[in-house]
Symmetry: C2
Subunit: 487 residues, 2 copies
């Protein structure tokens, strides 16, 4: 009997060894084909998630993988969207990231702790489905594992750990609570897996036998990597959106004549900035995150507009994020990653000088991404922004608008004024030649992404003074509404 068992286990070990070697031999192709891989390891406390991961990585080249166990401090939790630590940790192309528990544990625990309402829990499940789909559609291979042990086995393991000085700390108060509420957890895990398993299935591993769990995980990993390498990087198809959209006018129909006299401008500016400064205090105290998105034609006056809005803000509480072309480490990840990582903490203002909408403007027109990529992006961006407003953020988007004549006049002025010449580049002239294509793309963007929770505002900026006052008024009104909603 004992011998037989030994032989069985030796067989499994040999299998594991072989599959591990196979994974090692896949490494180069994964790298060459730029395939990013996420292995999400969820499961019961004391089920052996850590040692499972250790088995998987033990022969891999350290340059090739990473393990993350996002630390959810109460501080971080309260101050960022719940997906933030997971989005931050996604691997770059050609690498594997192992998540030592992740968004499932986060959602389930908080729901059972009554830290989030049923309503919020549902929103989080929706967000998880969106997040996972976006990763898949962006070319990520996502393998979701759940390491399962039954109630008795968990009790036995926790007792064993607690008997020993060196390991007792591993059993946290949380874990003991889970042990007591095993059945409630079981229901919740199962329902979570059902609700998030339609697109990307969950794989339940038997954690009662360490070797078996490792073998099964490796088998899945080998198989899925094989398939992914064969087919090449996946690129998601665009699909129908179901967001309630606000009606937006076409750019061509916008009346750009509104203007302000200097005196009125100065008076209003002073008044509005004072009010915005006061509101910033309240927003800060109430921990409302504020995200202002600026897009607009070259020379439309984005910079000056941003400065007028930023002027009354306490520098401790805001950041201006200029968005330039992505750096190599940014290009090597899903395109929203560089915005996830730049989100403000709650209570802070973040002003994005250009945004994620580059995807459906410059990236679309210059061919920096595929047609499917930018067509999918409308929906992905709506989802992303809904996740932000679900977190509690005020999200406002401004299209700073001018006509072609005004742009030409400003370009010429820059050309002829030595201190301003640096502001004008050859690219600006090239972009100008593509005005009609851009206008078409912008009209489509405004039409498809102006949602009630994250609306677009067209800011008529032939007269910059008028534009600044209008923007300030919109910001103030939105903040007042958000503060009132919290009362």
């Amino acid at each position: 009997m004992s011998k037989e068992k030994k032989d069985g286990s030796a067989g499994i070990k040999a299998e594991i060894k072989e599959m591990r070697e196979h994974l090692m031999s896949q490494q180069q192709t994964i790298r060459a084909k730029n395939l990013p891989i996420i292995v999400l390891v969820e499961g019961w406390a004391a089920a052996g998630k850590g040692s499972l991961i250790n088995e998987l990585i033990s022969e891999l080249d350290p340059r090739f993988y990473n393990v993350t166990s996002p630390v959810i401090t109460p501080e971080a939790e309260a101050r960022y969207p719940f997906l933030y630590p997971y989005a931050k940790a996604i691997p770059e192309n050609g690498k594997i990231m192992f998540y030592d528990s992740g968004w499932m544990e986060d959602c389930v625990r908080k729901y059972l702790h009554r830290e989030i309402t049923r309503e919020e829990y549902k929103k989080r499940i929706r967000a998880v489905n969106e997040f996972e789909r976006q990763l898949r559609d962006g070319g990520y291979l996502l393998l979701k594992l759940f390491v399962d042990i039954d109630e008795d086995e968990q009790r036995r393991r926790m007792s064993a750990l607690r008997e020993n000085y060196e390991t007792e700390w591993r059993v946290t108060a949380e874990d003991l609570w889970q042990q007591r509420e095993y059945k409630e957890f079981k229901d919740c895990y199962e329902s979570f897996m059902e609700k998030t398993g339609k697109l990307l299935p969950w794989h339940v591993l038997d954690g009662s036998k360490k070797n078996l769990a490792a073998r099964d995980a490796l088998r899945l990993l080998n198989g899925q990597v094989e398939k992914a390498l064969e087919k090449g990087r996946y690129c998601g198809k665009p699909f129908e959106e179901d967001f309630p959209l606000l009606k937006m006018p076409k750019l061509a129909s916008v009346d750009l004549s509104p203007a302000l006299e200097d005196e009125e401008y100065k008076k209003e500016l002073k008044k509005l900035q004072k009010r915005l400064g006061e509101l910033h205090n309240v927003v800060y105290r109430k921990k409302i995150p504020v995200i202002l998105c600026y897009e607009g034609w070259d020379a439309a006056g984005k910079g000056g507009n941003i400065r007028r809005v930023a002027r009354p803000l306490d520098p401790r509480g805001f950041d201006v994020m200029p968005i330039a072309s992505p750096e190599p480490h940014e290009l090597a990840r899903q395109y929203l990653w560089r915005f996830w990582t730049r989100l403000p903490r709650s209570g802070h203002f973040c002003i994005f000088d250009r945004t994620w909408y580059g995807r459906v403007m410059v990236e679309r027109l210059e061919g920096y991404c595929s047609e499917d990529d930018w067509k999918r992006a409308y929906n992905e961006i709506n989802e992303f922004e809904r996740q932000l407003t679900d977190w509690g953020a005020v999200v406002l988007k401004f299209w700073i608008h001018i006509d072609q004549d005004t742009q030409l006049a400003r370009f010429n002025d820059r050309q002829n004024t030595p201190e301003k010449q640096w502001k004008l580049t050859d690219e600006d002239w090239r972009n100008r030649e593509k005005w009609p294509q851009y206008e078409e793309a912008i009209d489509e963007m405004l039409k498809k992404t102006s949602t009630e929770n994250a609306p677009w505002f067209i800011i008529e900026s032939n007269d910059k003074k008028y534009a600044r006052i209008k923007t300030l008024r919109i910001v103030i009104q939105a903040l007042e509404k958000a503060i009132e909603a919290q009362l």
Copy 2:
């Protein structure tokens, strides 16, 4: 009288406007000359640091500057070296970073709170001096401002803030405590400035008049930028080190014959890995950070050695950091920045697969930095590592050593084994041709940077099994010592 005052203030406003415009006109040259600028704004609570910064930035292009007010959460504080948030926030070349209070406030407050001992306070002051000098020597312009108000003025301002619902939250318990202990703070600020003002002087601004403080700050900034742009980027000269160094043998004299039989290796490996796993638990509980640095010849067996050390570690508690060539955003900052940002949290292991020593090896030999740069680096690295061990880290550095014949044999093996071919690059062959130059650089590195707190170990790795066992033993011994020291 009132009219006169008005005129005076109008004059100052005009001056401010002019200097602000001057700064704006300097922007492009700052960018073109790749000058990174740090403006540290320290000072009393309620002295107006925030609004001073706001005055300075109000007309600047947002792509050009940033404001940071490092948030010192009790969590972050305990888990990283105290300079970590400041080092993380340094600007890239061509940009300005404003620190809305920084390392001075951090040191003084903690010292007066008795959260750090006098001994620790002294070490921090030394670290601050090192940090500032390293930035300066790395080409940074560092302007240090202290906004001063007297006791009565502070009391008046705090009372005014507390009278108003919208501003009362701005006066924290900390601030009230400072007001009560004004004199003690004053002494401590002054002594801090004296102790850290020798190399890079402090500028005390009169905060009782907002406009004057802004004018004086702008004047300083204008002047120093002017000077820096004229002279070009500063590059610090190397200087004498005063670190007690351990005596290291020359590589040529190392006996590479030690080897282990397979059976003994397996037995020892198992035993030592078990022990290391136990110690990892203790280290984790005691929150001791562990930093293992691997350097070595190509094909010396670093990867396999690292895997044997990592095998028994809980993946939640360690990271392997492969260090490749720096990315553009890393090259655009002081060279230690990419290591500061990769430091482990306390209680965690971080295994660096190649390290900051690239500065005195590949960067030296390939001319990626100036002679002054790499010559200065020995001392800078010793300082950096002392800051790590002062924080409580165990820092161990391994030179994985083989001879030329062994390297050739391993290169040929890689060449001839299809699964291993990817491990061998043209660069490896090129590096091999430079063996003598590298050997000279490595001997110098070992000689100049093996300190008692962060020692080098030469690991004989002609026999990889011997090398792995030796490394494991060193790690275990060092951890046991560190744990004992904490008891």
